[in-house]
Structures are given as structure tokens and as C-alpha cells.
Subunit: 420 residues, 2 copies
């Protein structure tokens, strides 16, 4: 039996094109702090016309394989998770096949953030799953959905969405605690994990979520809640579930009580989501990547709890055990390879008018066919895949920017098709 | 370790509304036999305005649980496969959550056929996977895809689609044979399995596919090919791969040589696909359901090879070992529960003008909001879920037709949302 199955390697890609939330606030005529404090966000990445969800996937998968020296033939199974549908039938995975067969080439779209993460799973991993410590929750809810297939925008019930998220969080946490207790014979509390990583559409929800777990610990009479905290939370002990999701007072008190614990156990996970924006499926792992970036080898011996959430809704909370591991599959090498600081520094900040102009072009292009892109790749890093053309049959063609992380010259992804 | 993990139980649902291919031929002004012989199809099921992919999933999952006496709490994992996207973000699975929590309620669309299959996987199964005997193939091809998100119709390159299918078939078969030979120390050929079941968009392709496997056996010098066959296939031994996919002569000769083997090993699997039409994801399992319907307990001790294919493309060939098993999870009870003969008999044949009228309404309704359906459920069986309304927020509501396979009264699926 394979042991310590888990994350062997990771890489993250986010577009180098971004806009500061502070600048966007001013441009949108929003009150100062509405985005930066109200949402807790610092900066937002977006794709220009030359990138999309397929190109980002191609970029990050290729990069992971190259940087860790992994032969594509060693990969037994490929899973692709994405919030964004480019084609209702043809899967993103099929676009990645070139990487695993003929080294062919490969797209990104903007909705408040964009990024792609590649993760290699295998035995003897530095980051292994505690497979028995987990909780899952699914419900049929209309919190965030995309029923208008011709539109790139979702239908969102913001308030409902937040409540659904917190309900799923409560449910997963309780289940996970129950399983832990059956397994270990003692109660689980916030004290039993070193870090908590959340699906992060915007940072404020992460703050609220961690505070919610503290309230859950209070209701469960867990050891993490001291006498002073118990006293402050006393007035909220009789709230119904629904009341507790709506209470501003409870939110305020729990966030205040959770503050120092938040700074220690959550804050190190928030860098990329705050700087890049909502990455949908990638967002949880971008938060985890932030933790590895910030703490590096110091994570050896630590337990990290992750909370994954998808609207509609489907959620899982699970536990990871970390150790340094062997090069190239070690915590410190994963941090080296992801190279988050350099990537954040090499971004290009757009002024609002240029950002809005780009968004208009993207809306116009959404679902369109028979066009070529500008092929302006001056803002992309070497090794990045980009969209060159969508032909009259809606077939998408990609090329790869030359540079040190690659050896070939740009070529068209469609060669496999045309060659048949 | 769990043993004999595989299919414990199955049920199939297809709309009771259908049109004869012969009638459609005449109505379309197509030459006689174009659909019935050219495609090998007999009849086509379609959804009227009251059914869709969600209602069909609700119907068949509920039916499986009830008919086999399975408590929803016993289900550890739910997988939903579908070719059809109703919402780009909210998954079909979330609509099924009511079944597993509060027994809430739930849709089907027409593109040359429609059906839903529910399959229960577990240990000590009458139908178990030979997990080491399989081959997989993925490629980046534009054979059949749905890039126009606002349209319910795909872009199809028919000729390319067929070639891609056959290439994937060759590749999977070769890999599977290699694995079998490593495992068993002897060559695999068509003689080593009792039945072959194919992804069945239309029956003619199934005929071609089985004939192709015979050609593969010839090229592999396998024992299934006798001297007379070798002589007839001799002239084709030097064809390039591409030539072999295009050769009409080869197709004719192999189909002729394969005829008696086809009648024994494939024909019993073709009933439902020929009678219902293209069921996309469900089509392979509908073919397998046909086999169980036709052969019942006589399948005990047999090996069945399945070939799964999805455009884009992604394919797997795998092997099943069958035994009678214990009631209710036995071959004969699965055949009883699926009750294919009665379901086929209770269908309503539409005349072409009424069929075309229904299709027009469905095109008009596609992606639409703010409407109620006729709620005419006279053509549905008791226990069938149906669409009642899509509100101004695109939220979909379903009810369940009263009858013996259910106890509750129709209620709205949205209650879970509204109740929060």
C-alpha cells in the first residue's frame, strides 16, 4: 500500500496584468475602503485577450512538470477543476493532452481574479492527507449560478451565498470534529491545528469564517474558548442557527475574540487571494500556496485544515499533515518553484480606463468565433501559453512564448487535430 | 479490503415520448433506409417541455433507491456524468441532494435521444471490475463540441468524429490486450470475452467498431482469426493507419467476416440504443442494460468488455466479470427492476408534425427564464419527476407525478433554498 499519499509538488500561475483595488474604488466612485476593507482585497488579476482558462492550465501544468523534472509518462491520472466553461462539451483536459503526448501548445478570462494551480499527487509526499479527518456537505441552493449560457456573468444572491457558505462551514467542521473525536478519543478544537485555509472569494469572508469556527467551538464547549471569551459569547448561546448567521453583533464579537488567533493561524494564508482576487476553483489552493510561501520549511510537523467550497453547493473540510520531504518534492523546493514574491513583483498595474477597455474587448469576444488576437505578448512571462486565434469553426489555437522555461518554438495546438 | 467491487444495482429511465426513425425518414424526405439502415437506428426518444437532464436524473436515482431498498444514508459517494449542461456553474449533483437529505423533488432535453441511468457501486457485486484489464486514450480533437454556449446544438465534424472514435478504440484495445497478456501470459483476442458493449451514438458505428476489433486481431495475428479470414484480410495488411480508417473495402470485408460473431457477442447489447437513440453519457450503460435485459442470469460466469467514449476526446475500455449474486443485488433482479420490455412498450409514438412542434417549443425555451410549463404529465409514468417552472431568477422547480413507486405528494424542489 502506498503511504503518505498527498501533495508532492505544486505550482501557481496568475496573469501578470492586474489593477489595484484602491484605484478601482476611486474609479468606480465607491467610498474609500469599500473594496480594500469591506471585501478585504488588495489587488485583482485579470486576463487580457491573449489568455484564458485553457492557456493558464497549459502554462501551469507545463511549468510544474519542467520545474520538478517530472516525466509526463509518470502521470497516471489527470484531474482538471474549473469554474469556467469554455465549451459545453469538449473538456479542458483534452486541451492538455498535448503536454502528455506530443508536447503541443495552449487560454484565461476575467471575473474578479484569475489564476491556475497545478498539483501533483503521489506517495511519500511532504503534504499528506489525513484521510479519516474530514467532513463534507452538499445542498441544493441557488446562491451563485450561471444559467444564462450566453453570458459570462453569474447570477448571484450575495447574502444567500454568504449564509450558504457559513452553513456548509459549520456542517463540515462539526462532521470533521466528530470523526476526529471517534478516532483520537478527545475533542477537536481550533487549538488542534496550526493553520486554517479557506476557499477565498474575498478576504472578508475568510475573516468571518474563522470567527464562525470560534463560535462553533464555543457552542461545542471546546477547550479553545477561555473563560473571558465564554462570558462575551454568553448572550449569543441561545440564538437559532438562522439568527446566528444574521447577527452583526455576534460577527463583531467573534471577530474581535478571534483576532490574535486569526493573525497566527489564518493571516499567513491570505496573501495571494488578497493580491490576485477570486480565483474560484484555484482559490483554496492559492491560499495554501501563500502559506507555503510565507512559512516554508517551518511547516514541517504542522497540521493544516482546508475548507473547500463550491456554490450550488458542495463543500469539504479536510486535514493535511506536513513534513519537509525529499528534494525535489520538499516544502522548501515547492516554495522555491512557486516563486510567489517574484511573480507578484513582476506584475503590471493597469490604470482603470485601460482595464475597462480590456474588459469591453473581452465581453465582445466572449463566445465569439473567427477572430485573431493582437498577439501582443509583451506583458507575459517566458513560457506562458497564449491564445492566437479562434477560427470560423470555434477551434481555439494557442502558442507558447519563448523563454528559459521552455525549449521549443511557438506552434499551434491544433496540429494534433489537423494531422489526423 | 473490499472484494469484487463493482455494479450492485442499476436502473434506466428514458422518456416515454418517441418517434419512429422510419416515420422521420419519410417526413424529412430522406431516402428510405437512411436512418434505419444507414445509422442502424429504430426509434428515438425525446424530452418534451416537462422533462430535462435534471428531472431524468431525479427520476432514475429515486427509482433505484426505492426498488432495491437502499437507504440513501448508505451511499458514500455520488457521481453524476452528463453531456448536457443546464447551468455553467451549478452542478446537476446539487439538484439530487434532496434525495439524500429531505426527499425533495426534480428535468430532459432532446438531441437524438435521451435517457438516464443510475448505477450503485459496492463490494460483493454481481458485476465486478477486472481492475487490471483496461486501456485508456485521450486526445485533443475537435470532433464534436459545443462552443456556442447559447445554442443547444453542437458543432460536429461527422467524418472526423468517426475516425477519432475508431482511433481511440484501437488504442484502448491494444493497451487492454497488452495488460491482459502481461497478467495472464497469453494473448487476448475477441474469443476471450463473451460480449462487447460500445458507446453507441448510432448503431452503425457499433457495427463498424466490432469489425474494427476483428481487423485489430488480424494485425496482431491473434487466434480468433482463422485461415479463411486471414486470406480475405491479406490485401489490407499493408494499409497505413489512416488508410485503414478510410477504406470502404476494408469496412465491408471486416463487417462480413465479423457478422456471426457480431450476432452472438454484440447484437444482444443493441436494443435500447437502437430504440431510444443517442443517450450520450448514458449510452454505453444503456447498451449494457440491454444485455442484462436479454440474457439475464445466463450472464453468470461471463466476461463483458465495455468501451466508453466521449468526444474531445477521452476513452476507456474495461472488463467486467459477471455472476448471479444475492438478491436484491442479483443479475435477475437487476433485469426485473429495469423492466425494459414494459418501458419500451408503454411509450407514445409521436407523428412528425407533433414532434417538430415540440422541438420548436424546446428551442424557444432553451436558456429561457420566467415561464411555467403546461404541467401536462399525462404521458409520464407514475414516479417521474418533471419541470413545472423556471422563475425570473432562472431557478428551476420540479414536481413528482404521484403513483405506486412513491409515497409523497408533488412538492417544489426549491423548498430547501427558500427555507434557508
Amino acid at each position: 500500500m502506498a503511504k503518505n499519499v498527498g501533495i508532492l509538488a505544486m505550482d501557481i500561475y496568475f496573469p501578470l496584468t492586474c489593477i489595484q483595488q484602491e484605484v478601482l474604488e476611486a474609479h468606480d466612485g465607491a467610498s474609500k475602503g469599500k473594496y480594500t476593507i469591506g471585501l478585504g482585497q488588495d489587488c485583482m488579476a485579470f486576463c487580457t485577450e491573449v489568455e484564458d482558462v485553457i492557456s493558464m492550465s497549459l502554462t501551469v501544468v507545463t511549468s510544474l512538470l519542467e520545474k520538478y523534472g517530472v516525466d509526463p509518462k509518470q502521470i497516471g491520472r489527470l484531474e482538471v477543476g474549473s469554474e469556467t466553461v469554455i465549451d459545453k462539451s469538449k473538456s479542458i483536459k483534452t486541451f492538455l493532452m498535448g503536454i502528455f503526448e506530443v508536447y503541443a501548445e495552449g487560454p484565461a478570462r476575467p471575473t474578479g481574479g484569475a489564476a491556475a494551480i497545478a498539483i501533483l499527487i503521489g506517495p511519500d509526499a511532504p503534504i499528506s492527507f489525513e484521510s479519516k479527518v474530514r467532513g463534507s456537505h452538499m445542498a441544493h441552493v441557488y446562491d451563485f449560478y450561471k444559467p444564462n449560457l450566453a453570458s459570462e456573468y453569474p447570477v448571484v444572491d450575495g447574502k444567500l451565498s454568504q449564509t450558504c457558505y457559513l452553513m456548509a462551514l459549520d456542517s463540515c467542521y462539526k462532521q470533521m470534529c466528530n470523526k476526529y473525536e471517534k478516532l483520537e478519543g478527545k475533542q477537536f478544537s481550533l487549538s488542534d491545528a496550526d493553520y486554517f485555509v479557506f476557499h477565498s472569494p474575498y478576504n472578508k469572508l475568510v475573516q468571518k469564517s474563522f470567527a464562525r469556527l470560534l463560535y462553533d467551538d464555543f457552542l461545542r464547549n471546546a477547550s479553545s474558548i477561555d473563560e473571558a471569551a465564554k462570558e462575551k459569547l454568553g448572550p449569543f448561546s441561545t440564538l437559532s442557527g438562522d439568527e446566528s448567521y444574521q447577527s452583526r453583533d455576534l460577527e463583531k464579537v467573534t471577530q474581535q475574540l478571534a483576532k490574535s488567533l486569526y493573525n497566527a493561524k489564518v493571516q499567513p494564508t491570505t496573501l495571494i487571494p488578497k493580491q490576485v482576487g477570486n480565483m474560484y476553483t484555484a482559490s483554496l489552493y492559492a491560499a495554501f500556496a501563500s502559506l507555503i510561501h510565507n512559512k516554508n520549511s517551518a511547516l514541517a510537523g504542522k497540521r493544516v485544515i482546508l475548507f473547500s467550497y463550491g456554490s450550488g453547493s458542495s463543500a469539504t473540510m479536510f486535514s493535511l499533515q506536513l513534513r519537509e520531504g525529499q528534494h525535489p518534492f520538499s516544502l522548501s523546493n515547492i516554495a522555491n518553484v512557486m516563486d510567489v514574491a517574484r511573480k507578484l513583483k513582476s506584475r503590471h498595474e493597469f490604470p482603470p480606463d485601460k482595464f475597462v477597455e480590456t474588459m469591453h474587448l473581452m465581453e465582445h469576444r466572449y463566445g465569439a468565433k473567427d477572430f485573431v488576437t493582437s498577439k501582443d505578448i509583451s506583458l507575459l512571462s517566458p513560457g506562458t501559453y497564449y491564445l492566437t486565434e479562434v477560427d470560423s469553426m470555434y477551434r481555439r489555437f494557442y502558442a507558447k512564448k519563448d523563454g528559459d522555461s521552455t525549449t521549443g518554438t511557438p506552434c499551434e495546438n491544433g496540429s494534433l487535430v489537423n494531422g489526423q
